[in-house]
Symmetry: C2
Subunit: 349 residues, 2 copies
């Protein structure tokens, strides 16, 4: 099959490799209908040291089950499925509590052992917990918009939803979203779904913030840093934002977040933090009882409800995809996203 | 009147100074019945640079209203009152949201402008918001235990309650309390009141952990650091604690906290952090979706309910006081607490 590997910063290659095979009775093999590139894939695209061995890439897909191990009972050959970006057994105590990304049996795609999902075929470990069937959709005839929206449930939309959910967004809430990437825009849509009264989107790329407005952003703030903080404080009568959804992962976004969060409010982070230490003391979080939440989104917890919303036409989270390329052009997909020529690129094997 | 001043580390003096007077029509003057020394007073007791000018000390009292400004309507001369450790108008939007320590009109005792409460008399700014009447108690005849319990509502017990409240402690919760000081023990009692199923107290002073057990601690862990983390993980079947209440304020306690918090759990801090930066990235909080909460306790928000519980005999939070000294012996009270010969010392003017 064809599959994507990264050999170093900026060096993405699609290569022919052996098809994946069942390794455990709990595995399934899925034929990819759509995969995509994630904003988090751009971190190694910037920083990975050059290597003789390529690292398999990709952790998002919708596809059709080809083969299942003997212990798999929840999915069968021919099922059209979404794969959450992390695999998990979905039965352990942490999974039952809604934190599937902490499943001790689970793990991440994109290592030599697990393989990547930017490929023609994928081995899905713990398939009973890690694949969710999309009922009544034939991927051969479904339109690109529907496929894109279902693909967004593999990670990006439900990562935005997780930010909003952990931020306790609800009716009456003022939400500020830091970052106008695909996750930030998804967080806008999710906040609107959860009933937020006011949604301030901090971003400076008009083509993106326009989608944010379409999805429910009531205000757009292009300023950053201290100017951005001042602008949000001004918009909130000096009170600050009940909830700040941080969808960037860099320190300036974190600093902006504690600058604008209201006393007692919540900063919910889903941008993968590119830092370990950050201010949390009297001058940042503690003094105003601001709370910090967020982490790798347990998208599995939210999947059935979101599939229902997509199939009912209530939401179209796939609008974050503004390009679809053949799998063989994955390197170009990375380039387009890195240069911000594309917001998010889907891949068609 | 006699009042307490700190002139530098270890240098506490009780001096005769002019009586406080009404400065604003919203002020009240209160005659102190009991004041006390706080664990947080020990931070300057360790580190304050020597100074020619003493800093007024103390932020906890119960007392009797002597005089009120012309704009004060909620309390009157003769009322027996508790003063929350921060003053606030209790009418602004943040106060109404339950975060009175963020009141823009409010502030802290213990500066030359506001004065301290380890004194015979105290000026209380914003008296309508900053004093709470205790009904049907005559301080002249009330026993020491009742006075101590009411005094504990000025700060220590309700700071412990705030930790548990922000930690979302409830039925079924496993709580670990880091620190066996007066706030930590109060957090044990508050967690039990909120219905915690299991309460692990991390502390090594048997006389203190014994009170913790009396108040509901189901397990006591004397080990610290990695050994302490391992012990708590062992007690929780390797899962960790839903809630960790950090009542110390030093980095080792913070590190212990993220070591034992369960995926998706909450670390709630009420020990005043003696650090600004701390780990919050993938290796500490983010990776397991652990949340961070807490800050200066808005004890005003919890006062009426707690006064009711104390008067009904449901709780006796004043048991953290193991000594009462005359106000003139305040320096000795600091020494006893600093040397851990006393847990918490009340002062009787």
């Amino acid at each position: 099959m064809r599959a994507t590997f990264m050999y170093g910063a900026g060096d993405v290659r699609v290569e022919t490799v052996p098809d994946p095979v069942l390794q455990q009775p709990t595995d399934a093999i899925v034929r990819v209908v759509r995969a995509c590139v994630c904003g988090s894939d751009l971190h190694p695209y910037h920083s990975m040291p050059a290597s003789q061995q390529g690292n398999p890439m990709g952790h998002e897909l919708v596809g059709v089950v080809e083969e299942t191990g003997s212990a798999v009972t929840n999915v069968r050959r021919g099922d059209f499925v979404v794969a959450p970006f992390a695999f998990s057994d979905n039965t352990c105590v942490f999974c039952r509590e809604g934190f599937q990304t902490a499943c001790p049996q689970g793990g991440w795609y994109g290592s030599p052992e697990t393989g990547g999902l930017q490929a023609e075929l994928a081995r899905i470990p713990l398939a009973d917990g890690s694949l969710v069937v999309v009922p009544d959709v034939d991927p051969a005839t479904a339109d690109d918009g529907l496929l894109a929206s279902l693909l967004s449930l593999s990670d990006v939309y439900l990562t935005g939803h997780h930010a909003a959910f952990m931020g306790e967004v609800g009716p009456g809430t003022t939400v500020t979203v830091v970052g106008d990437g695909a996750v930030g825009l998804s967080a806008v849509l999710a906040s609107r779904q959860l009933g937020a009264e006011r949604i301030i989107l901090m971003g400076r790329h008009t083509s993106r913030t326009d989608l944010g407005r379409e999805w429910g952003a009531t205000d757009v703030v292009a300023e950053r840093g201290e100017d951005g903080v001042a602008r949000v404080m001004d918009l909130t009568d000096g009170e600050g934002s009940h909830v700040v959804l941080e969808a960037v992962g860099l320190m300036p976004a974190y600093e902006q977040s504690y600058g604008i969060v209201r006393p007692g409010g919540i900063i919910s982070r889903v941008g993968v933090p590119q830092y370990e230490k950050a201010p949390v003391g009297f001058g940042s979080l503690f003094g105003k009882n601001a709370r910090l939440a967020g982490g790798p989104a347990p998208v599995r917890a939210y999947q059935e409800a979101a599939i229902g919303q997509v199939l009912a036409g209530e939401i179209e989270p796939g609008k974050v995809f503004d390009a679809v390329l053949p799998l063989d052009d994955t390197a170009e997909a990375y380039r387009l996203m890195d240069s911000r020529e594309a917001l998010k690129v889907a891949l068609r094997p």
